[in-house]
Symmetry: C2
């Protein structure tokens, strides 16, 4: 399978079925594609893999009809579905470890191929910060950048509104048709026409708390840089900033007085290496050298479509207990597991793949896994 | 001559006469001591050196009676004069390139040997910043640090007042007896009793604009770290921060909103490597490793009291025109002059010494000199 190709309708349907199947997350998805060459063969293989991982009852495969219905709903809504191997998929997003295999999009999809900067911040933003966000967003747009955010209250909404003319992308936490908060429905509609909407979750999904960190990794993933306007400690904006840093994106942060609790998060980011920023010109200048370059010259293969060595059954049987003993309810880095097990990486990854399909482990940001049962 | 010694009254008088003589700045002072071994012989030599540097009229040597009167005035005021080679001189200050050879001090002089942190900021400070300064100053005192500042309006005064119990040192721009601004006279008096006053300028001197950067280098020089509370661009606080950085001191800066012009200077310091700081605990923690160490183990000879090679007259006559042609009214680094002249450093330094005594060049912060005539 090639690194980049346009999928046929049938192939796209198989991709959608695979990612919508039980216990299949983005990393497992791409490992399966890598191993079986395509989604159709992966779909056929996962019941057996899950069983080997210790699954008793059969794994739930997404039915063809269900995937077809989701595709129709997105099309009827005026959107489309794009797979990670396709040319219209956001370039930056392709390069993150857990890229969503399929996204729903709606609106000016050409914005996805431009240089994007994510703006994030508190929902409960101060008036000064709302005003400053509008200034940043407008000026970044004038500087030729598309502004991405998460369509939340406060900073997100201010960033989107000021960028509607310059170009804005909203990544929503639930389905592409679901507005959260409700009051942002008109803004979401406007962005679906004049800007661009992105959703990873199935059409009609009401966003859950666990969806927001996943949404945030897409905001940083499509962006060449993230600007954090204000952030209380432990806020979602800080998660986005951390993801952005781990994804190799520039992180800009606006400082504030120690007397202002909403500046605590951004000040802390600056202390830890984020670029202190007082106006959009500084961001434009800082990014000037890297812009364009990133779009035209991906620095790593788009997707890991090499055919790897698959360890044989005896090897896996032998190794499985050792891996199980290394796992715990506390998330641990996979590289650490490989190192401690003294096993070949391919063996460890295969065992983890089977355990995930069996629903026995969960993947976490930062290449970590934990035991679920 | 030894690196450290207590001076006799006669020797201290010679030191005072030498530094109070025309065209003798701190760097020239120590070069003369280095070359002639003591102040008495240096005093005897400078008329001839100035003449060689191109001086037509005789150089003004500080009369013995004048130095005696200054010493008496300081003693009558309740203060004393300390030379840079003496054990009571502030340890950190000894190590800066242009340490004042003699300072007047008054009050609890044992504070000069403790770990000192300088707090600087705007004269025209906001209420929020005044309040924050008091918090920092009080907490640093509780953490065992002595707080130094410049006894100006605003931040300086707030820092001193909050540190009166914990220990505070005020470095004044003029004579030790002169209050500037006048309204700070009671505070200066209180610090002269319960804290400690330092002055480099002669007793009775009204401070001039040019004295303040010199005052600032003493604040950073006696301190192990400088905390900048707020600063507009091009303010004196930024000069202090730059001096502190060049002197190898830690620079801490308090961030602020881009909407607050008084935060522009501190934000810029942070952008350029200063440590972003929101409370005193961070400073105490950061300094914990270096405290004590700096006091007990000076990392370089206290003063350059080696006897250097003195170039012979013919060599100097030959080289002088080349040095003169490299100088200009724009200040240039002495290392650069040495490099471009392709002459031995001792030759270049001797020529510059003579030119300075002749009043033909001026020294600037950062080891730079410029032409004055």
């Amino acid at each position: 399978m090639e690194h980049q190709k346009e999928l046929s309708t049938v192939e796209r349907l198989d991709w959608l079925r695979l990612i919508r199947s039980e216990n299949v997350g983005p990393i497992t998805f791409f490992q399966l594609i890598e191993r079986f060459g395509n989604a159709k063969d992966a779909l056929a293989a996962i019941p057996e893999l899950a069983k080997r991982g210790g699954r008793k009852k059969p794994i739930r495969i997404c039915a063809k009809g269900m995937a077809e219905r989701e595709m129709d709903e997105v099309l009827n809504f005026g959107g489309e579905m794009i797979a990670a191997c396709e040319s219209t998929y956001p370039t930056g997003l392709k390069h993150i470890a857990d890229a969503p295999p399929i996204i729903s999009v709606k609106g000016q999809t050409q914005l996805l191929k431009e240089d994007i900067v994510g703006i994030v911040g508190s929902r409960n933003a101060s008036a000064v910060s709302i005003n400053l966000t509008q200034q940043f967003s407008l000026a970044l747009g004038r500087g030729g950048l598309v502004v991405a955010s998460g369509l939340a209250r406060g900073i997100d909404s201010a960033a989107h509104k000021a960028a509607l003319n310059g170009g804005t992308i909203a990544v929503v936490g639930g389905g592409i048709d679901v507005s959260y908060p409700k009051e942002n429905h008109p803004l979401q509609e406007a962005i679906g026409e004049r800007g661009c909407l992105i959703a990873e979750q199935p059409f009609g999904t009401q966003p859950q708390a666990r969806h927001f960190p996943r949404r945030n990794r897409i905001i940083s993933g499509i962006s060449i840089a993230i600007l954090v306007m204000e952030a209380t400690p432990r806020s979602g904006s800080l998660i986005t900033a951390r993801m952005a840093a781990e994804q190799g994106r520039d992180v800009f942060a606006v400082p504030g007085s120690p007397m202002d609790p909403r500046a605590r998060g951004t000040n802390n980011l600056i202390r830890n290496g984020a670029i202190l920023t007082e106006n959009a010109d500084e961001i434009l200048q800082e990014l000037a050298s890297s812009r364009g370059h990133r779009l035209s010259e991906p620095d790593q293969p788009l997707l890991p479509f090499n055919t790897p060595r698959v360890p044989d059954e005896a090897e896996i049987q032998d190794a499985r207990p050792r891996i199980l003993s290394l796992l715990s309810p506390t998330a641990v880095n996979i590289d650490e597991i490989i190192r401690l097990s003294e096993l070949a990486p391919a063996t460890v990854l295969t065992i983890l793949l089977e355990l995930e399909l069996a629903g026995r482990i969960e993947r976490h940001f930062g290449n970590r896994v934990s035991f679920t049962s």
